[in-house]
Symmetry: C2
Subunit: 453 residues, 2 copies
C-alpha cells in the first residue's frame, strides 16, 4: 500500500484520535488547568511512541512539562527538528461558542473546538504523518527530533531553558513548525516571516479606595478616564504608534518582495467578511496585507476597572487596568521597544495618579531566506498533498521559538501552516477545515519522504 | 424621664438592633438578592409598628417593595413626610473590606458594614427617634408619614408611581430625609442643594467576533482603543466637559451664597487625605468645594472588554463597554443633557464600529430656600442634639426623590445628614461614626418635639 493510500484509509481513526486530544482542556494561562496540561503532555508522549520514536521523555519545567522524542535510525539522511505546542488559549467568553470548546464537533466540513487550529490539530497532523511513514516504510525514512511544549500561549517561558541545555542534542538540518495559517482555502502556504510580540500590563491607581461619584465627582483623578486618555495618545490620526523611536529600526522591504506579496491570491473581500466590522482601520500609507505582515502595531488586548456588573453603581474606582501588546517586525529589538513603550506611557501619565507597568513577555520578529532547497521541497510536497498551487507568505502572528531557534542553530525554519485566517484561533468557535487537516497529513508525510530521497 | 435621658439609656439596644438590620444583604442592583430585599422591607415595617405608627403597609412594586406607615393622631400639629431607603449598593470588590460587608463590626468608634451610612444607619436614627418620642410622651407629638423604599441605589423606579398614586395621602408640611453627609466630624449640617444624576451605558462592537491580535492586528478597528479615544474626547485640557451645550443652562450662584460656601469649616487637607490620590483633578477656574457642589461633571464609573484574566491573551475583542454618568446642577434639564451626551458620543464614534447607547436613569438637581422657619428649627435641634454649631451646606450626590417631591408638593425638604464624606458610601469599608448615629437620634427627636411646640 502506498503512503497516500494508507493515510486515506485512516481518516476516521485519525479524526477520532484528534477529538480525544482536543477534549483535554490544556489551558496554559490558568493555574486551575495544571492537571489537564499534564494529561495533555502524557497524551502527546504516548502518540510519539506509537509513531515509532524511540526516546520519548516528558521533561518537567518551572511551569508546564515539555514533551521530547527522537528517532535517529536513518543514517546519512537529513534530521528534522519538529516543534509544536499542546497548550491552548483560554476559551472565554464561553457563551459565544456554538458547541462547547472542549467537546469537539464536526459541522459543515470543519472540526470545532479550542485548539483545533492552534495548535493541537496541526501537531496531530505531524504525529499521524510520522505514524504513516513508519507503517508504510516499516521505519522512519529520516531522522526526527520532536519537541512539543505546553507554554506557547503564555510566552514559552521554559522552552528556551530546555533548548539551551540541549543545544547539541537538538541539532538538526531544518526546523519544521506547523502553527501558522494558509493564505486562504485551497492555497497551501509556507510562511517565511513572522512578527515579534511584546505583551504589557498597566495598572493605574487614583484615589486610595473606591469613592462615591456624587460626593467626590468633579475634583478627584478618575483612573478610568486617565487610562483612556493615555491609551488615546498612543496612536496619531494616521494610526501610527506615537511612541518615540518605535519605527526607527523597521527594515525596508525590497521592492521585489513587496511586489510578490501584492500578487498573492489574497482576497480583501474575504478578509472584510471574516472581520465582520463596518470598516477597517490601520496605519495610513500601507495596504492591508502590509499592515498585517510587515508593519509593527500596538493593540489593546484588555481593559477593566470600576463597576462592570448589572445596573448602575455610582463609583469612582481606585484602580484601572489594561493589557496591551506590540507586534514587531525586522529589525525592531523587543527589549528596546519595551523600554520605549514603558518610557512613553510613564511620561504620558499625569502626576495625580500612581501606576505600575509590567512587561509580561518579549519576542523577536523573524524572516527566512525562502530560496533555500528545503523550502522548495516543502512547496512541492504541499502541492502534491493538496493538489493545488502553493505559495510563500508572511504572517502577522508570533512564534517566539522560531526566532530563538533560528538565532541558535542558524538552520532553515519551515513553517507549514494548515490553519485558515478565519478559523478563530484565540476566539470562540475555533475550528479547522477537515480538508486541510487530511491534506496536511499527506503533505507532511510526502515532505519527509522527499527529504529522504 | 426626659427625651434625651431616655435615648441615652437605650444606646446598647439601639446599636444591636441596627446591626440586625445591616446583616440583611439588601442589594437592589442584583436580582439574586430579591429575598433579602423582601426581608429588609418586612424588618422596617416591624420597627415602624414598634415606633407606634398605626398604619404600616408593605407595598409591592414592579421591582422592590416600598414600606409605608403613618401616625396622624396629633390634630393641629404639623405633618412630616419622612423618606429613606433600605436598599444598599453592591459590596464588590469584596477583597477590599477589612470585615465582611454584611457582618457589622465596631472599630475605633465607627460601625463598619454596607449600608451603615447609606442609608440603613440613617433610617434607623429616625425609627429610634420616633420610638423614643412615643415612649416619653406616650404618643407621637406630631403627625408622621414614613416612606422607606428599596430602589434608591437603582434609580427609584417604582417610587414615583407610588407617590403619584398617593398624592393626597402623602401631603405634608415638610419632607425630611436623612441620606446625606455632615460637612465634617463635629459639624452637624443641613443640605440645601443636591446634584442631579444621569447614568449611561455604551457598548461598542468592532469585529463580529474576537480576533487573534497577531493575525488581524494593524488592520481592524479595535473597540477598546476606539472606546478609549472616545472617552478621552469628553473632557478638554481644563477638564471641562466637551459635550456641546452641556453648560448652557447652569445657574449662576449669587455672590453671597458663594461667599457663605467659602467660609464653611471645610478642610481641604482632610479631603485630600480621604481621597488619598497623589493629586486632585477638576474643572479649571473653580475651587474644590465648587467643583463638588455647584459644577456639573461627567465621570466614568466602569469600563471593560477583552481579556482581563491572569496572564496574556493576544486578542482583539469584538466588544468594549463603559458605564458613565453626569452629575447635574440647577438649571440643567436631565433629559436635555442625556440627548446632548448621546448625540456627542454618537458623533465622536468612527464609522468602523457599531454601538449602542443606553440611558439607564435620569435625575434632576435641586436647591432649597434655607431661610424658611422649618430649616431654622432643624438647625436648632441639630445644635441641641450634638452640642455643636450647625451649618447649611450643599452636596455633590443625588437624591432624585427630593426633586420629584419638591416639584410635586412644593413643601420644604429638610435634609438632615448624619454620614461623613469619608465613610466610604458605595465603597469597601463603609461605616458610620457612632457619635453621629447617637447624636442623630437625639437631634431628630428634638426636631420633632420643637415642631410640635
Amino acid at each position: 500500500m502506498d503512503l497516500i493510500q494508507h493515510i486515506e484509509s485512516q481518516r476516521e481513526s485519525h479524526l477520532n484520535e484528534l477529538k480525544e486530544f482536543l477534549r483535554i482542556p490544556s489551558v496554559s494561562a490558568k493555574s486551575e488547568h495544571k492537571k489537564d496540561i499534564e494529561q495533555a503532555a502524557r497524551w502527546v508522549a504516548e502518540k510519539l511512541r506509537a509513531a515509532g520514536l524511540e526516546k520519548v521523555e516528558i521533561t518537567p519545567t518551572q511551569m508546564h512539562p515539555l514533551v521530547y522524542g527522537e528517532s535517529l535510525r536513518a543514517p546519512g539522511k537529513p534530521t528534522i527538528l519538529l516543534y509544536g505546542h499542546y497548550d491552548v488559549q483560554p476559551a472565554e467568553p464561553l457563551d459565544l461558542w456554538t458547541s462547547a470548546p472542549f467537546e469537539p464537533e464536526v459541522r459543515g466540513g470543519n472540526l470545532f473546538g479550542r485548539g483545533t487550529a492552534d495548535d493541537k490539530g496541526q501537531v496531530h497532523i505531524h504525529l499521524k504523518a510520522l505514524e504513516a511513514l513508519r507503517a508504510v516504510h516499516g521505519h522512519l525514512p529520516i531522522n526526527v527530533k520532536v519537541m512539543i511544549e505546553g507554554e506557547e500561549e503564555v510566552g514559552s517561558v521554559s522552552l528556551w531553558d530546555f533548548v539551551s541545555r540541549n543545544r547539541e542534542r537538538l541539532r538538526a538540518d531544518a526546523l519544521v513548525v506547523s502553527d501558522t495559517s494558509m493564505l486562504a482555502k485551497g492555497v497551501p502556504s509556507i510562511t517565511y516571516g513572522l512578527r515579534g510580540l511584546n505583551y504589557y500590563e498597566i495598572a493605574i491607581t487614583g484615589p486610595a479606595q473606591d469613592l462615591h461619584s456624587g460626593v467626590f465627582g468633579g475634583a478627584v483623578p478618575n483612573p478610568l478616564t486617565i487610562l483612556s486618555e493615555t491609551i488615546a495618545k498612543l496612536h496619531d490620526r494616521d494610526f501610527r504608534v506615537t511612541v518615540p523611536g518605535f519605527y526607527d529600526d523597521v527594515a525596508k522591504i525590497p521592492r521585489e518582495e513587496r511586489k510578490a506579496l501584492h500578487s498573492l491570491p489574497w482576497k480583501e473581500k474575504e478578509f472584510r467578511r471574516t472581520v465582520g466590522a463596518p470598516g477597517l482601520c490601520g496605519e495610513k500609507g500601507f495596504s492591508i496585507v502590509e499592515q498585517l505582515w510587515i508593519r509593527p502595531t500596538l493593540e489593546l488586548n484588555g481593559i477593566w476597572g470600576g463597576y462592570t456588573g448589572e445596573g448602575a453603581k455610582t463609583v469612582i474606582p481606585s484602580k484601572a487596568h489594561a493589557k496591551l501588546s506590540t507586534r514587531l517586525v525586522p529589525n525592531q529589538d523587543p527589549k528596546k521597544i519595551a523600554r520605549l513603550v514603558e518610557r512613553h506611557i510613564r511620561k504620558l501619565l499625569p502626576k495625580t495618579v500612581t501606576h505600575t507597568f509590567e512587561v509580561l513577555s518579549t519576542g523577536k520578529p523573524w524572516v527566512a531566506p525562502y530560496t533555500h532547497p528545503v523550502f522548495q521541497k516543502a512547496l512541492h510536497a504541499l502541492e502534491a498533498g493538496f493538489g493545488k498551487k502553493a505559495v510563500f507568505i508572511r504572517e502577522g502572528g508570533s512564534i517566539p521559538f522560531v526566532t530563538q531557534m533560528h538565532d541558535t542553530f542558524r538552520v532553515p525554519c519551515v513553517l507549514l501552516g494548515f490553519g485558515l485566517p478565519d478559523e478563530n484561533a484565540h476566539a470562540p468557535d475555533e475550528h479547522i477545515a477537515l480538508d486541510n487537516y487530511y491534506g496536511g497529513i499527506k503533505a507532511v508525510a510526502l515532505f519527509y519522504e522527499e527529504l529522504a530521497a
